[in-house]
């Protein structure tokens, strides 16, 4: 198994976006770069790519769409959680039914945000997750 975190990326945050829609991915990237100055934004267009990038780059947080070509975001989340149980996954979807939320939670996602609410909710959720992440990364150095 790979080492938990390569020293080269220990310095700044990295966030993986998984969404098959290129335009939406770019919009989200722009927003994240605005919120988290200097953060490294990784992109995956489908579930398989997300699993690979998650394993290779070990991002601080993963933002996952549900409807993806091939493997859906819920299954991709399950796979990622098997390999890196500590990596937080936030589902960002157009769907708002409780059934989706339940599935996401069972798959191991920490948060579920409707895309239309991302303006108000995503930044707060990420700040909370990433603050905890950097704090624990700091303390594990000792």
């Amino acid at each position: 198994m790979r080492t938990r975190k390569a020293s080269t990326i220990e310095d700044h945050l990295s966030i993986l976006i998984c969404d098959d829609h290129e335009v939406l991915r770019h919009l989200l990237r722009a927003r994240l770069e605005n919120w988290f100055d200097g953060a490294e934004i990784l992109e995956a267009a489908d579930g398989e790519a997300a699993i690979t990038i998650a394993a290779e780059r070990n991002p601080d947080v993963i933002i996952m769409d549900i409807a993806l070509p091939g493997m859906n975001g819920i299954d991709a989340t399950k796979a990622i959680k098997r390999w890196s149980p500590d990596t937080p996954v936030v589902i960002l979807s157009v769907h708002e039914l409780d059934a989706y939320r339940d599935e996401a939670r069972n798959a191991g996602a920490l948060h579920y945000i409707a895309k239309r609410n991302m303006h108000s909710e995503l930044s707060a959720v990420l700040s909370e997750l990433l603050d905890g992440r950097t704090a624990s990364a700091e303390s594990s150095k000792d």
């Binding site: 927003r31 409807a67 895309k115």
Partner: protein
């Protein structure tokens, strides 16, 4: 120069022989009269110091009730800054130096000094002590001034770029309250047009709470304190209203009571209540007077000369912030008006395009409703959502150029008629491209019949060539059209429309757009004719701009009533 006071010296010495010797030295060594008190014990000395502080103390460190350096500590603890000269035994320099470190001014070794040295040592000790005292006082004053300057800077930072006048008033009040006493705090606004001075923010102490301040007319001859400050643009200090002891700052100088620029003043007490002293500063921004800041205190003589410049500094910082807030408000009102005009024009164009086709009346509005909802569901930013909304409202503008009989034809169109219909996107493009919208409206409208698989018209664009806005309107257009009645067919129904979306997801329709559209209907019960609650947080900005187009006067009054009782 007043008469020379006798030098008051306290000698603390338990050895009577030493005491006598020093007494005789003092008589010869100091010119002028000396008042000498002598005691043998430290507790006696402390008592004498308490009763009347001497100009200097001659202190033997070895006393019956106190020995060594502790003696000087105990004396210093009871007499702040009192000059002490320590008397030590011969060859006791180490002790002497430590005594000085603990606050003694000087030392004398017994047997090694004469009358002249004693006299000089005492005089120097007294003078040094005076000098230290005045340095301490000026340091304290400097610290106070520094604190005041820092406070003015802090206020500027705290006010920042806020456009909320009420917040500016409250912040100013907090800062002033921290530095200056006040039973009443009044910010008045000078209305240049009506020539009235209006209390804009009033905070009273609990005793003053019920007082209501009326609007007062500005008087050009400055018969009241407010008018005077507003006219002269100078701060004003009123030491005691009861004895009309008025001092006005003119060119940085306090001029005698009742005389400002040659006028005899009768300072009106309209806003005074039972308060006796007051401090007023003009609120100036780029030389323009916005109003005045006034503090009142029940005590007379509550304010010092330096308070004038402090209050002026705070008032001017606040004035700049208020001025900026007014500019922001005006530009928001202006933007709100432009925005309303723009919306009106778009709606007119939208309606004009539908006049010749009554069967599809409201189609563009309904498409705009759905397309906007899809854009929001996808999480697009406010600006992109607005782009989708405007383009939707005019997407069929090109139908103005299609013969009415084709548009309203109750039977199926011929191939030629269909080709004519297909020219409407190009026609709309040619009209809209000449308008400098802040969004790509013309291009979006041009593309709204394109499909990702290249099956659309007029250009047969594919995939990435079709913009996201056009993809959204394309889906919304089809769904609305199928769900509604048309001259040539009854409504196919919503379910058929959604089935069409499902069938075309990933073919002609964008997957995410189609999915968002289905989620809207299936999960959130979207209804074309119901105005959904606006759930997005950043919608508030629009409502704000609209509510601010009511005029600035009302906003000011609103602030007045809301901030009347800050405390």
């Amino acid at each position: 120069m007043g008469p020379i006071q006798p030098l008051n010296i306290l000698l603390v010495e338990d050895n009577p022989a030493d005491a006598r010797l020093i007494e005789s030295y003092l008589g010869r060594g100091i010119r002028g009269s000396v008042e000498l008190r002598t005691c043998k014990r430290l507790d006696e000395a402390l008592d004498l110091v308490r009763r009347q502080p001497p100009d200097a103390v001659l202190l033997d460190l070895g006393l019956p009730d106190s020995q060594g350096l502790e003696t000087i500590d105990r004396l210093a603890a009871r007499s702040d800054g009192l000059p002490v000269v320590v008397l030590t035994g011969r060859h006791d320099e180490q002790v002497a130096l430590q005594a000085i470190r603990r606050g003694a001014q000087d030392y004398l070794s017994k047997g090694a000094f004469d009358a002249e040295l004693l006299g000089r040592t005492i005089r120097y000790a007294v003078e040094r002590s005076h000098a230290e005292k005045s340095i301490r006082a000026s340091q304290k004053r400097y610290r106070t001034l520094l604190h005041r300057q820092t406070t003015i800077n802090d206020l500027a930072l705290a006010l920042g770029t806020t456009a909320d006048v009420g917040r500016i008033y409250r912040t100013l009040h907090t800062y002033v309250d921290d530095l200056l006493p006040a039973d009443a705090f009044v910010i008045s606004h000078f209305d240049r047009e009506t020539r009235m001075i209006r209390p804009a923010c009033v905070a009273m102490s609990s005793q003053e709470h019920d007082r209501v301040l009326p609007e007062i007319p500005f008087t050009a001859d400055g018969a009241d304190a407010q008018s005077l400050v507003i006219r002269t643009k100078q701060p004003l200090r009123i030491d005691d209203w009861d004895v009309a002891a008025v001092g006005a700052q003119e060119n940085g100088r306090i001029v005698p009571a009742g005389r400002v620029e040659g006028l005899r003043l009768v300072i009106s007490d309209e806003w005074r209540g039972s308060n006796r002293s007051a401090l007023l500063a003009p609120m100036l921004c780029q030389g323009d007077i916005l109003g005045a800041l006034q503090l009142q205190c029940r005590k007379p003589n509550a304010y010092q000369e330096e308070d004038l410049s402090l209050l002026s500094g705070l008032a001017n910082v606040a004035a700049i912030a208020i001025h900026n807030a007014q500019l922001v408000k005006e530009s928001q009102i202006q933007a709100g008006r432009l925005r309303a005009a723009f919306d009106g024009i778009i709606e007119t164009i939208s309606a004009a395009a539908e006049i010749r086709d009554p069967y599809t009346a409201g189609h563009q509005k309904r498409v705009a409703h759905l397309a906007t909802a899809i854009a929001e569901t996808l999480g697009l930013d406010q600006n992109s959502v607005e782009s989708v909304r405007i383009a939707s409202l005019v997407h069929d503008l090109g139908k103005l150029g299609i013969p009415a009989e084709i548009l309203t034809k109750p039977s199926r169109l011929t191939d030629t008629e269909t080709e004519i219909i297909k020219t409407h996107t190009g026609a709309a493009y040619r009209i809209l491209r000449s308008i400098d919208f802040p969004w790509p409206i013309a291009e979006t409208v041009y593309q709204h019949h394109e499909r990702l698989d290249g099956s659309g018209y007029p250009r047969g664009l594919r995939g990435d060539e079709v913009s996201l806005e056009a993809r959204i309107i394309g889906v919304a257009d089809v769904v609305e059209a199928m769900a509604s009645h048309r001259p040539y067919r009854p409504a196919l129904g919503l379910e058929a429309a959604l089935e069409e979306v499902r069938a075309n997801i990933g073919v002609g329709f964008d997957t995410s757009v189609g999915e968002a559209c289905l989620a809207l209907f299936e999960e959130r019960g979207f209804d074309f004719d119901r105005n959904e609650e606006r759930t997005r947080d950043d919608e508030d900005a629009v409502g704000l701009a609209a509510s601010q187009s009511r005029g600035s006067n009302r906003l000011y009054r609103h602030v007045t009533t809301n901030t009347h009782s800050l405390q």
